[in-house]
Amino acid sequence: MTPPGNVLSRPRAARGGVRTGRRLGSWGTRVLGRGLGARRSRTGMLLVTPAVAMVGLFVLFPLGFAVYISLTDWPLIGPYHFIGGQNYSLLVHDPQFIHSVLFTLLYTAIVTGPILLVGYGMAVLVRSGRFGSVFFRTAFFLPFIVGLATESFMALLELQPDSGAADYVLSKIGLAHANTAWTVDYGLALTAICVFVIWFASGLTMMLLMAGMQGIPVELYEAAEVDGASWWQKEWRVTLPLLRRNIALALIISVIGSFLAFNQFYILTEGGPGTSTQPVVMWIYEEAFVQYHLGYATAGAITLVVVIGIISAVQFFLLRDSDSGRSRGDRRPVRRPVRRPVRGTRR
């Protein structure tokens, strides 16, 4: 298994790959002559071609195409016209689009903190490998595995007035009436969906933080104990600082997931009542495939791609350059020329 230190090393891994490849290349040239080196190079290119072709055909081309569509009045059927940035200027003044953006932001703001806190707490519980921790870990992660679509259908039943388990349990403890209709009221629907999503997504945060926690050398805790540190002090002074990158990663994954919310709203409220619980992705879907305003919908989609691109860029920035002084030895070897001997010892 990859050591947990690699969790956040995407860019380093990318560079390492080039360098590693070069090693065999020079080896091939040295031992077997130039002919084989060229053949190996061709083999390598052939091997990666299918993957590159798929990504080009179904990600990069559509991305470029999307930019073009967003500059037209593309309908589903019939001719289209190039209209420049008009879709974007309309977007800024479209109350429905603005509402969906604000609603998505509100939803993200509500669920992000609890998902991190619950996930952190569960990671603390399962990180030690104590008796029962594998069972707990599996239980906590299961909602994420089953998937939001499937569970939304289950939740739909339990959120019904009079017959759902939500009303049954909450009326027993006096928190709601037995006939509360959760999915047809803005505030109730948002509350129910937020609780539901926290239940669903905390397991992923737990997994990401657990991997980071298990990568922290035990010696650091032992040293803290020798100095008389309490549990809280160890958590605050040792775990949290060393876990900053993992927390950043978990937060960014959670925020991007919230920005892309669709299933739970589509299945539970269909964006209702009215369009009050319509997140951005549902706005794009409805505008494109119900209203057939493909050009306009795509302008909204490009906006979303840009926002998520910015978050991802922030992710790269945070994970590469923050807290470098505290890093463990294997965190940032890219800029150190001593990397080669380290790899040499592995052979």
């Binding site: 560079r15 390492g16 490849g21 065999l24 991305l63 029962g132 998937g147 289950m154 991997a211 879907y285």
Partner: protein, 292 residues
């Protein structure tokens, strides 16, 4: 202070809780586990209740009326087996295709040098950050012109593409971890790249392939928004579309008993696969790239 100082080595992350601490840990963990497991177990139980009881407030007496009527009704009137087969075909197809393409690419990126390989690998990785939810319109137009909309093969190709960056990353890491001597020795003995992969490296990359297949399968088994966009014919519905059809497409009252049974059918393979193969899943999580 002294108590802390005399703790045994390995105490680091709190392995030594003492009796009270351990009881607290077990109690807290069990209560938390119930919060996560009970709703799922409750759904399974509900799916065995007759529809008349599902639409009433739960009561203790309900458990004496368990029946498989929802399942048999679903099979007879809703053709659920066809939808499950569609989901299965798409998920297995996606898993296999992703495995083959990602293994080839991982091998190529990890073990061969060619012009621009670093750049191409970075490009494949960067596409992981482009959300497919935002590319639905151009993808729909493109796939429509290629005859890939309303087509399970098209859906599997779409899922495969968006699983590839993760798969390629995992497979490349897998190949990088294999000692160089193995492929070098094979090359000296005259084995071709394909021969080396199949005869020498295969057993060592199986865990990586298992990780890739598992992620691709779980992603595509009940993926929702893509299927909703690209599939229109009733006969090609995957499970979530069939359930949505039960929710909105039915005339009159929603049959919640059927809906619950259908959701349980969609849940069971995920639970079994994850519980059985979770070491491969976690291997993927700690490999450094995660799908949100």
């Amino acid at each position: 202070m002294t108590a802390a100082a005399v703790r045994a080595p390995g105490a680091g992350r709190g392995r030594d809780l003492g009796r009270t601490g351990f009881v607290l840990y077990l109690t807290g963990g069990t209560l938390a586990a119930l919060i996560f497991l009970l709703p799922l177990a409750w759904a399974v139980l509900r799916s065995f209740m007759p529809n008349a009881l599902v639409t009433q407030a739960p009561s203790a007496g309900d458990f004496s009326h368990l029946t498989t009527a929802n399942y048999s009704g679903l099979i007879q009137t809703n053709d659920i087996l066809r939808y499950a087969a569609n989901s299965l075909a798409v998920a297995v197809g996606t898993g296999l295709l992703t495995a083959v393409i990602a293994t080839m690419a991982g091998y190529g990126f990890a073990r061969f040098r060619f012009r621009g390989s670093g750049l191409v690998f970075a490009l494949v990785l960067v596409t992981m950050m482009i959300p497919f939810q935002a590319l639905l319109t151009p993808l729909f137009l493109e796939m429509h012109s290629l005859g890939l909309t309303d087509n399970l093969i098209g859906l599997a190709l779409f899922y495969t593409t968006f699983n590839l960056p993760f798969g390629v990353f995992v497979m490349r890491n897998t190949f990088l971890q294999i000692p160089w001597e193995l492929s070098e020795a094979a090359a000296v003995d005259g084995a071709s790249a394909a021969r080396t992969l199949v005869s020498v490296l295969r057993p060592l990359v199986v865990p990586g392939i298992a990780t890739t297949v598992l992620y691709a399968f779980l992603f595509s088994w009940t993926e929702f928004v893509g299927a909703l966009t690209f599939i229109t014919s009733n006969s090609l519905y995957t499970l979530p579309l069939a359930l949505l059809n039960m929710e909105y497409g039915s005339v009159g009252q929603v049959n919640f008993g059927y809906l619950e049974a259908g959701a349980v059918i969609a849940m069971v393979p995920c639970v079994l696969l994850y519980v059985g193969l979770q070491r491969f899943y976690i291997r993927g999580l700690v490999s450094g790239v995660v799908k949100g």
